[in-house]
Symmetry: C3
């Protein structure tokens, strides 16, 4: 299937100002380097203007500042990157899923599946679960008992949702994601760990995306909560009773320990970690590979990356880290002795 649009049609749908040949016909998006004549590209940053000069794209999306930097058919937008995303969605609609339940799916008693929903081959829908309008449950997904999934959700193959979790509209969940497994709650009792039943759920708002093999544990007593518009990359681990504020985006391999609350519009870099029982304010940015060990009360950017170097230099420098306190004491002593010397120096007498 190929979809194609004229620039004028795109602007009619998505806004923006068309300059140049408005009837140019576009059927796909591409980068400035690789785009061909039926493709549209974008320039989100003026520093790539050189690529604009040499592109073979049929059209381009750019900001007001670059509006005259090319003669190509173009759409001027306040936010070329987001505009590009919307054009791409227009040109690459998701394949329509056929409503209905594949005969190999296993449907529990009392499950309420909207007639417009699609349940793919070998999916299991637990007893009492609810699947909203136009939602797609992929091949081999497992939806536990009494789970509620909103409308227009798309679960890719082999997503697992444990019993009683509640998921909003427009959810995207990628393969291997596990939502609602038991939190890691154990108590030591005379040399043995006793399991603490995890009786909370996971509650997920609208417009959330969850990456492949990401895990979100159910709450121990209260619920784990993912607010509207949160975007989670792959292989993230979110422990029990965490709350993630709306529109926060988290990159791959991040781990968030139990009962931590993260604000709205935070950005968390890959493989970062946040210890348990902390509070992170709104609009906090955390660098990749950074462990946050205390609450952050103030918006801003935080980091804790150990800088890499050639292994031999790393070895030479790093050996001193184990003696840093001693080093500081040596500096203190130097300062004191120097002070003493200065006082007794000839010029001071």
């Amino acid at each position: 299937m190929t979809v194609s649009y004229r620039l004028s049609e795109i602007a009619a749908q998505l806004g923006g100002r068309v300059l140049g040949h408005a009837e140019a016909c576009i059927s796909q998006v591409a980068t400035l380097e690789t785009a061909q004549s039926a493709q549209i590209s974008f320039l989100a940053n003026s520093k790539y203007r050189a690529q604009l000069a040499s592109t073979r794209a049929g059209a381009v999306i750019l900001g007001e500042a670059d509006a005259d930097a090319t003669a190509l058919p173009r759409i001027v937008s306040d936010n070329p990157y987001a505009y590009f995303a919307k054009v791409s969605a227009l040109l690459n609609p998701l394949p329509e899923a056929k409503p209905g339940i594949h005969p190999s799916a296993v449907i529990g008693a009392g499950a309420k599946i909207d007639a417009s929903a699609s349940i793919a081959a070998l999916a299991v829908i637990g007893a009492g679960a609810t699947i909203g309008a136009s939602s797609v449950i992929g091949e081999g997904c497992y939806i536990g008992e009494n789970v509620i999934i909103g409308s227009h959700a798309r679960l890719y193959p082999r997503v697992v949702i444990y019993h009683d979790c509640v998921l909003g509209n427009n959810l995207i969940a990628h393969s291997g994601a596990v939502i609602g497994a038991d939190g890691f709650g154990i108590a030591m009792d005379e040399g043995h760990w006793v399991k603490i039943p995890q009786i909370g759920c996971v509650v997920i708002g609208n417009d959330v995306e969850i990456g492949a093999n990401t895990t979100i544990d159910r709450g121990a007593l209260d619920d784990t909560v993912i607010e509207d518009g949160v975007k989670l990359d792959n292989q993230i681990q979110i422990a029990h009773n965490v709350r993630i504020g709306a529109h926060t985006a988290i990159a791959g391999c991040v781990g968030i320990a139990g009962s931590t609350t993260i604000g709205r519009y935070c950005l968390i870099g890959g493989s970062a970690g946040i210890l348990g029982h902390l509070e992170i304010a709104d609009h906090v940015e955390i660098a990749a590979f950074t462990l946050i060990g205390k609450s952050i009360r103030k918006a801003g950017s935080y980091a804790a990356i150990f800088p890499f170097s050639k292994s031999e230099e790393w070895r030479k420098n790093t050996v001193h880290l184990r003696h840093l306190d001693e080093l500081v004491q040596r500096i203190k002593k130097l300062e004191q002795e120097l002070e003493l010397l200065k006082r007794t120096a000839p010029g001071n007498r």
Copy 2:
């Protein structure tokens, strides 16, 4: 289903001393903040006594030191947190799985499935596998050929156990866990990697819990061994030929490299790592985000966390790490020169 117990009944089953109204009827557990009148909460740490004063809980579990800190119906225990866990288990029994094999499950030749075991929809049980009494194999699990699973195991949907692994009683394995995949064994041979067949297995003791999407690789030659009572959180990676001692608990996202032996009763924080071929003693605690690069022969607490700060401070400070050795040389030189100066200072002549 709601279960409810009088305090006196709970104490009859679990021990502890009841104070106050022993016939108070309890049907659920909750935190001190959220508990209602039919719920029991706990105070494990005297510093939360203020919450005790304001709780609406119908009863509370607390330690001897706090026995008189409330007039609420209460159970006094040496270990309120573990006691609470047991009460919660009493009030929240796992849903009973119906014995029998779902018609959509695929059962290999010669599989020995106890009559009391439950094999859920779309599970695959390999040829010659053994499933013990009262064990539950969840939807879409794959149990490889000749695997042995003990009694009272509970495998949540989509757990994979490769062939020939041996798992003990009371195992809990969460969705997406993969037990017994090949270890990462390769040998370089004239510009190409040659795969080293992984002919060991994974052997797991009794009372082990394995988190969602955790992976435990089979041994290269000998077995990978997880001893009794080990508790593993989500997304942990355990490489081939690792041995984890009994009752060790490991938080999410930890990676343990090949052939490392970890002692008993260790506690390993989230996203920590342990290199291969090391030995970690019993009762070692490893902080989150800490890489252990040498064997640890002595019980105790170990850490290697780079402290986070605002990004601009981090940048300013961190730039010096690449010159730490030079810095130490400068300090040495200062010390030597100062020593020289002191010797030649007026007071010394």
Copy 3:
């Protein structure tokens, strides 16, 4: 099934020079410590010669330098470890998969499945997918629409391949691996994230192994590419538009951010990370737990590990890291003052 070979037969197949009793019969491989009389072991490093002296192995593989270090039947090879791997493969052939399609598998319209391929129980093959000769698709795998898988591939149970990805010959993919899920592409637009459709694919060369629960995202516009002979351990996350050069080996839990290019024959340690849009040269070694934040243009070994210590020492030393710049200023000041003092010292006047 037991396979057994005489040393002479092994050498006839794999090369190498037999010393001692060439008709010794070998049916399994083992370590020097555990080997029995029908087993062959190896000595790859002369420093383990003591183990050679005490082994009960029936034969041993060793290098030229150790050729005379034992009287046991032995094969001398330039590369004892790789030779051992090949002997092990000889003695431990993979169980043959029966060609054909299990009746419980779900096959999409127009799928082209070679007659010698094996599609196991409950696997789903999407419409238009191609499965090459002798390839094995394990239980519960999901192969998306129009995916192409080469010959002699072995997908263990519950691997997911999203639509349109292309995978080469001799692929090994372990359970839980997810190939071709959407990359993490989002654009902020007036307080909401807009999803950027991920219209590239994943293209995987020949002879690649992918570990359990590893994820490789599809490209945003162009493809994500894994070249020939790449070996990936478990729980690795490879973001969209990454390219990994031929014969690079990556240990568990590594995360590689978007659009980064990694060279050939690189070795990347466990839990390491590489930020996005970087270039890593051929033959680069990256230590475990190391974050690479800049391109590496030169072969060599790189590291950034924070050294661990007892927690109390760690605390004492680490507190200074937040004041490292101040410390450097203090050293500078000391140097200046000392310089001044030296100039005005009695001996200089």
